[in-house]
Symmetry: C2
Amino acid sequence: MRIGELSRRTGTPTRLLRYYEEQGLLTPERAENGYREYGEHLVDRVLQIRGLLEVGFTTRIIKEFLPCLGNAPEIHLHNAYPDKIALLETELARLEDRIRILEKNRDAIADYLERIRPFAQRPEDRVPARAAMSAGTASPPNTGLLSSSPR
Amino acid sequence: MRIGELSRRTGTPTRLLRYYEEQGLLTPERAENGYREYGEHLVDRVLQIRGLLEVGFTTRIIKEFLPCLGNAPEIHLHNAYPDKIALLETELARLEDRIRILEKNRDAIADYLERIRPFAQRPEDRVPARAAMSAGTASPPNTGLLSSSPR
DNA sequence: CTTGACCTTCACATCAATGTCAGACATCGA
DNA sequence: TCGATGTCTGACATTGATGTGAAGGTCAAG
């Protein structure tokens, strides 16, 4: 398919599809006329890239992940050298850190929402905060979020 | 404490501490001479901020989360209005999406590492990838990562 | 009193991810 | 064939999170 269709199917501006290519994340064929030709599997690939970008990875790192994203037919064993493996391992560790952080924050926010929701008011009911406060919730505001190691 | 100490204790450049303040994430007192004065609890606060930034939240969103980060003594019930709650809920949903994406990717990378590790070679053993490939691993490269909904 | 470490504000630089526009060629339908 | 739409390359703008440096005030120790 050409860039427009891929754009529609992934909700990604063509500008970005070209950018991802420039960054080595996508390598479509070229038709006679110079138009990019994308294979079917690249729809998923693009969504993967977007997902990883959204959770804070850079294109450079994502590029390292590409062999794992493995919709491609090749197995990429030529990456099986210690330096590559080490890089993937440290990134994996960072990834696990991130997951832990996100889970803590999710829990904290969910807790907060639960504590707060009973007090939800429609706009016309608005009352100075003090009034609502005196109404309940003596529980301590202890919710501990966290926190990664400093970069 | 002053900005230098907070910086050392959080591993965060003073520049960023001032930036976070500018973004409304931190509101230290001021001493007579204009120096910023930070309370003890802001050490954790800063680490929380860094953690959230690292996993892809913007300062604007983090600001919305601040009431939940609750080391502050107040309970912030004045945020208990539907619009605020709705915002937190959608962010909570996004957060859960992110966690799912990260977990999928973690699994995919872990799998990949496991499949690849048996072939790890010390640099001096380097052989063209073909050689390694013919040695094994007929399993299909199916590892499916994913993928968020388009923004 | 001077030096050095720390603090202030202001401003410009950078980097990655995007937006946007311009000028030219390609393709397709009326 | 004409016009609309899609594509190409290239370049400049913007935004958010940072880095960096200038010019000057504060303060404690020698």
